[in-house]
Amino acid sequence: MKRIVINPQACNGCGICQLVCSACKAGQWHPAFSRIKIKQMREYNINVPVVCQHCSQPPCETFCVMNLIYQEPLEGYVLRREERCIGCRACEIACPFSAAVFDPIKEAVVSCDLCGGNPACVSNCPEGALFYMDEEQTADSKRRQTSRLKLIPSSAAGLSRRASL
């Protein structure tokens, strides 16, 4: 069960992931078509990339009146049959991350499909803010990081913005 994991500490907001995503998925070079979106939180001085989390109980699935959203049985990816979407955008509202994106050319709501297992945003992120890893692995590296924090003072832990997850 691999997911896109985000390290907002490392994101500098350059927007390369957005351009690459829009190019790969929509053939357009424009952030509006991107399925990953960087939110600049000026009040907290932080940039947070937001992307579909592939929830195990996806609210978007419940809300789709056309029943187009389904969970892929093997990996649990949340996918959609875009070609039949009526564009009511209910899933966009239902999603707690607002990770569903309306594509004005297809007139359909789309979301991250992890590029079939090799996400372009992750491979093109120059800052190491995006990872494609197993949920177990994510939890483990977080634990590792926390243990390091508990052991030594934060300044010595070398937790610069380049610290990997």
Binding site: C14, L19, G27, F33
Partner: protein, 645 residues
């Protein structure tokens, strides 16, 4: 290549008319984009001798060719017009996200002509272009205006002016959103004279890409190149502030209006450790992998609550060194400049000039109304406010140091400018290099950003007797990896003597920076060190399918540089204007002063290298023929003859 999607959007504010023009393939190949387009268009459209603040001046925004791609640092947009400060080609470059929106709305160039009688702003959303009433925005400071316009035009990028631009302060800037801006050359005053408060732009269409895979490959290659640069890690951590202590040590900062060379506590005021103290997070422009900007916040004390994207060398030098303020006051000063919409370098220069006049007793307390002293932040901010609103003595100072000095008796000695533009931060008496020669040869006046040695070695500061050389000081591998034609490389760098030939390197550096400004990438040192015409040609080929060789790229940027020179000559640039202020030749700092005749010799060598007349600095006929600029030369001659008549 037949149907290049970029358009030229022409907005005439006098007649309230809007027109669209295609960009011809020939123009694309010869001028690329960005400053190249601006040079070509403004040379045609601004009549000789036009009043910079009059109806004839044309303001042009041009996004670089590669903007809108993930090519590293491709985010820059060039704004140009005839400068009210220097009376010559005024131009300035800014990053952030404005260029991306321009490109995706379908425009490569936006031209604003004529003058409106009432305050207006232009709202562009793809094909919908509106000229709207801006009475409710006029008089508001920049951040407030951005807040209002962001609500009205969700998701749009905004170029705007603040009170300084409205009041035609000659060094007003155009702000690019809240924190960035087209600072130098006083373009804000041009916008103010057109009664244009803002341009909001939002695009929703992607550009067609010639070859997706090649473009991604070129971008990734570019990223790897930049990441392998020797200065990359330092720049991602501390941004431009890296050089500040070195220049302080070399006694080459603009301390107290270029009188001291350095300040005793410079390390605490302007060293890069202030990033650790006040900075919190790195911020990038579109597609940038360096992210040299920082969010800065002052948590306690007099200026508690100030929050800006800052900690760059420019405000630190112009307010910390020239005006002598402390670190927190510097951050506050850059907030004020962003809110007023005023160029930080010129603002610092004018404040330093006024304070020195006051100290020397040339400006009296009656004239100013209060006491001025280096390091007094409250007085400095009061004076800045007066300048921006043109109140009291501020009205005179708002004309810039050159014009103010002409009005003040004995003032000229203390006015530090070249061709009317205030000199930024570095003092050539302390460190002579390609960079400092660049201030004389710069096409926009006394400025440091159009010429910089891509392999500048700040560790060394030994002056060659004839000013022709600086130390190279790197290993052979650095030399080998430079993206530069071999012939040019061997002329500019002498490995045996370990020196860089300043005139040769100046030409290359200026053309390289002009190329960067044409294709819209950034001139931060890691990029300058590694990226050259080779990789740019690859990216341009993949993006727009333009078949162009690295040599042709280099030539097209040289062409634009020469055309701008012709523009300046047409506006009456004189050969002896390329001189440092008298102070640099006459007053010593740490036993060093400049030798006028030797600098003249360097300048003459530079003219020869460029193929210009070594006395007058006018491009020779054969240079123009080589660059395909003969059409411009005959025009220049005609207008000269008219002037003689």
């Amino acid at each position: 290549m037949k149907d290049y999607p970029g358009k030229i959007l022409e907005i005439d504010l006098s007649h309230r008319s809007i027109s669209l023009k295609d960009i011809e393939a020939e123009m694309l190949k010869q001028y690329l984009g960005g400053i190249g387009f601006n040079a070509r268009i403004l040379y045609d459209q601004i009549p000789a001798g036009a009043d910079p603040l009059g109806e004839d001046n044309v303001l042009a925004f041009a996004a670089g060719t590669l903007v809108g791609t993930p090519f590293p640092t491709a985010s820059r947009t060039e704004a140009s017009a005839k400068s009210p400060l220097s009376g010559q080609f005024g131009t300035s470059n800014s990053g952030a996200f404005f260029g991306l929106q321009m490109k995706t709305a379908g425009y490569d160039v936006i031209l604003v002509k004529g003058q409106s009688s009432d305050p207006v702003y232009i709202a562009v959303e793809d094909d919908k272009i509106q000229i709207l009433d801006a009475a409710f925005l006029w008089g508001r400071e920049c951040w407030e205006t951005v807040d209002i316009l962001e609500q009205k035009h969700y998701g749009a990028e905004i170029a705007l002016i603040g009170p300084a631009g409205e009041n035609l302060v000659r060094f007003a800037s155009i702000e690019n959103g809240r924190y960035d801006g087209w600072g130098r050359s006083g373009l804000g005053a041009v916008m103010g004279s057109k009664k244009l408060k803002a341009i909001t732009i939002k695009g929703s269409r992607g550009r067609k890409v010639h070859n997706h895979t090649d473009l991604l490959d070129a971008s990734r290659k570019g990223q790897q190149l930049i990441k392998s640069a020797s200065s990359y890690m330092a720049f991602t951590e501390y941004g431009t502030l890296n050089a500040s202590i070195t220049y302080g040590k070399n006694k080459a900062i603009s301390a107290h209006n270029f009188t001291l060379g350095t300040l005793p506590n410079w390390k605490e005021i302007g060293g890069r450790q202030i990033v650790d103290k006040y900075g919190s997070r790195h911020v990038a422009c579109q597609s940038c992998i360096i992210a040299c900007g920082h969010w800065a916040e002052i948590k306690e004390g007099k200026y508690a609550g100030v929050k800006v994207k800052d900690l760059e060398i420019t405000p630190v030098m112009s307010f910390g060194a020239t005006v002598g303020l402390g670190t927190e006051a510097i951050i506050k000063a850059s907030e004020l400049c962003q809110r007023y919409g005023v160029d930080m370098v010129s603002a610092g220069g004018v404040l330093g000039f006024a304070i020195e006049l006051f100290q020397k007793g040339i400006l009296s307390q009656e004239e100013v109304g209060y006491e001025l002293d280096f390091g007094d932040d409250e007085a400095a901010f009061k004076l800045l406010e007066q300048i921006v609103n043109r109140k009291g003595i501020g009205d005179l100072l708002a004309e810039g140091t050159k014009r103010a000095a002409e009005q003040i008796e004995q003032g000229e000695r203390y006015a530090i400018h070249i061709k009317g533009m205030e000199i930024p931060m570095i003092d050539p008496r302390g460190r002579w290099s390609t960079w400092t020669l660049g201030m004389l040869t710069n096409i926009r006046g006394g400025d440091h950003l159009r010429c910089r040695n891509p392999v500048e070695n700040l560790r060394y500061n030994d002056r060659d007797e004839d000013y022709m050389k600086e130390r190279f000081g790197f290993k052979q591998s650095m030399y080998d990896r430079l993206d530069m034609p071999e012939e040019q490389k061997s002329k500019a760098i002498n490995l045996e003597n370990d020196t860089v030939d300043i005139p040769e390197m100046s030409k290359w550096a200026e053309d390289l920076i002009n190329l960067f400004n044409s294709v819209g990438i950034c001139i931060r040192p890691p990029v300058m060190e590694k990226v050259g015409p080779g990789i740019i040609a690859e990216a341009v080929r993949a993006y727009i399918g333009l078949d162009i060789t690295p040599a042709e790229l280099a030539q097209s940027s040289e062409r634009a540089w020469n055309l701008i020179k012709l523009f300046n000559l047409r506006e009456g640039e004189e050969a002896d204007a390329s001189k440092f202020p008298r102070r640099f030749y006459e007053e010593e700092i740490d036993g060093e002063k400049l030798d006028e005749s030797k600098i003249q010799a360097v300048l003459e060598r530079y003219y020869q290298v460029r193929g210009w007349d070594s006395q007058s600095g006018r491009p020779e006929a054969q240079t123009l023929r080589r660059l395909n600029l003969m059409w411009a030369s005959s025009e220049t001659r005609d207008s000269d003859e008219e002037n003689c008549d």
